[in-house]
């Protein structure tokens, strides 16, 4: 639950300072991100929200929310997630009563009141997900100096570079690949190694992960088999938790995916018909012209 930007990122920050001073000279000597060994490509998972007709699996989002709430949210914030979102269409779709009850379990700081004092009150659906820490410095102090990234758009902030020629296919119908962040998170949850491989020395608090750039991650292995008690009979395994929470994070990052794909399907049909009509009209108009 503790995460940290890798040594690579720290090196990159120092590199950034250089960049400020002389941007172009260092563009020519940009360092590779990985320090110890090259991270493998995260294996693609089977996602309900992938593809032309993809949409979120409501039960999976509900389980994923449970994992997020019981595990991730102890350290990670999700500032753009409001309680009300959990009841909105295309999401976990809890009932509004469930969301009201859930929000009420949290204390939200509000105010100032008429006397000018800040006060705490039970949460309401319109409130945003409360942060586990008051500010970034407090989060760092509690996590050995590492700042757990905000999870609101995390699944869209992580990509997979498969290189040429795969990146071309990733744009095409049938091969489209927009689930990279979710695949990466699943791989990361599964990528921990109890002992670092030979030749890799970990500093205090660091953990070895195959899929993290640079392999040295401050977040200890957050999920293991049997950790979260599901109530819908889904397997209580690390792989299942990882998939469910990744799907949930994809939803927090892209909550309008369902309506987007549904709309897109209709838009393409209308445009195809329109193009056909235009083409037929054009043929008629040009029929008498030798061209």
């Amino acid at each position: 639950m503790i995460s940290k930007t890798s040594l690579g990122m720290i090196a990159a920050a120092m590199f950034g300072a250089t960049l400020f001073a002389a941007p172009i000279s260092c563009l020519a000597e940009e360092p590779a991100a990985a320090t110890s060994h090259v991270a493998p490509i995260p294996p693609p998972q089977d996602w309900s929200f992938a593809g032309f007709f993809g949409k979120y699996d409501q039960a999976q989002l509900q389980r994923g929310f449970q994992v997020f709430r019981e595990v991730c949210s102890n350290c990670h914030s999700a500032d753009h997630l409001a309680f009300r979102n959990l009841a909105e269409p295309g999401g976990p779709e809890f009932s509004i009563e469930q969301v009201k009850a859930l929000a009420a379990q949290y204390k939200i700081k509000d105010g100032p009141n008429d006397a000018g004092d800040m006060f705490e009150r039970p949460g309401r659906p319109s409130d945003y997900w409360p942060s586990p820490f008051a500010n970034a410095n407090q989060a760092r102090t509690a996590n050995s100096g590492a700042l757990p990234p905000d999870m609101s758009v995390l699944a869209k902030a992580r990509g997979i570079k498969r290189g040429f020629p795969w990146f071309i296919f990733e744009a095409l119908p049938g091969f489209a690949y927009q689930e990279q962040g979710a695949d990466y998170i699943v791989a990361l949850m599964n990528g921990y190694e109890d002992d670092a491989p030979k030749g890799v020395t970990l500093d205090a608090g660091q953990n070895f992960n195959h899929y993290f750039p640079g392999n040295k991650l401050m977040m200890p292995k957050p999920l293991s088999d049997g950790q979260v008690a599901y109530t819908d009979g889904a397997p209580q395994t690390l792989q299942q938790y990882a998939k469910d929470v990744s799907a949930f994070l994809m939803w927090t990052a892209e909550p309008k995916l369902d309506v987007r794909k549904k709309t897109g399907f209709r838009v393409l049909i209308v445009l195809a018909i329109l193009a056909g009509l235009f083409y037929a009209t054009k043929k008629r108009i040009w029929a008498d012209v030798q061209h």
Binding site: I24, S25, A176, K261, T263, G264, L271, A272, A275
Partner: protein, 415 residues
Amino acid sequence: MSGPSTYVPKSAIGRWFESRLPVMGLMHSSFVVYPTPKNLNYWWTFGAILSFMLVAQIVTGVVLAMHYTPNTGLAFDSVEHIMRDVNWGWMIRYLHSNGASMFFLAVYIHIARGMYYGSYKAPREILWILGVVIFLLMMATAFMGYVLPWGQMSFWGATVITNLFTAIPFVGDAITTWLWGGYSVDNPTLNRFFSLHYLLPFMIVGVVGLHVWALHVVGQNNPAGVDIKDVEKDSVPFTPHATMKDSVGIALFLMLYCWFVFFVPNYLGDPDNYIVANPMLTPPHIVPEWYFLPFYAILRAIPSKLGGVIFMFGAIVMLVLLPWLDTSRVRSAVYRPVFKILFWVFIACVVGLGYLGSQPPEGGAVLAARILTAYYFIHFLVLLPLLGLFETPKPVPASIADAVLHGGAAEPAKA
């Protein structure tokens, strides 16, 4: 080319208006009776596609500006607010962000078409240069637009590109500080970029007006590269012929655009731009948007900062000088066998530079970028001037009607 207006208003009020401000007559002569070469292919629909994209970007952009907040502390959150809480905000924002890419895709095809068919040659030099001005304004607009979401790539891209101005001898640092409105990319920079990002598209509209005006003075080029000689035999009226053909092009292009918007909306973006800007943390790879990559590769290929900047802008200057660098009297590549090959080699060179611009500048990529950069300039400065002197073109058809009759193939002009 627009002859005297044949427009006759049908109503009394129309006649009253037309005698005071003949704007309907102007529209009529420019977009209805305007003679269009009848041999235009679908590559010529990209002018209309670009006009459509310009309007689409302005309309979506104006709506986004109603919900966006240009402040370093609020910009990223306001974009997420658009994505989550504004009605159809996600669609407007994806239309706008992918629209920029589609705009550039179309403009690159439009430029390549002009290069292939020699549309820059006399008497179309001013028309061509106005096009280059539009291209430059587009690049400035797109660059500043990319900064607005205030993600990591926004911030670091802005930092790298604005730092280029420090390469200017003596006054570079002062100019850069003036551009930033401070000593680094910060809130004043974001504010002015937002202001300029809103302004420049309307300047583009103005230059597009001049571009269309110049086009209608000199007339459209065409695949045969010969001008309209007989309006009856060589041309068709713009409406309905070109209008409907352009509509087909626009509808097909919209399908591509909407595929990106609705199914792979983040393909053309960088995941790092979903991380809020952090001046203390540099991303491992700072990469511009795809449409800048060839120029970025040229910038990095030169092992000196000032040199890189000069060559990068020089790459655009080549386009401005193109009408005079190409010495051939034949316009269309159809009748220029060697030029046709060189054209495709040049396209491959630019695509190659684009790929190298996306790669870390290490090992073989550096050498490859230098070779391709050298070739880019050799194409303009050596090959094109010499080719016009040494190439033997195929016979050019006597007229557009002639080219159409013989299936576009060159035939000796009949006596």
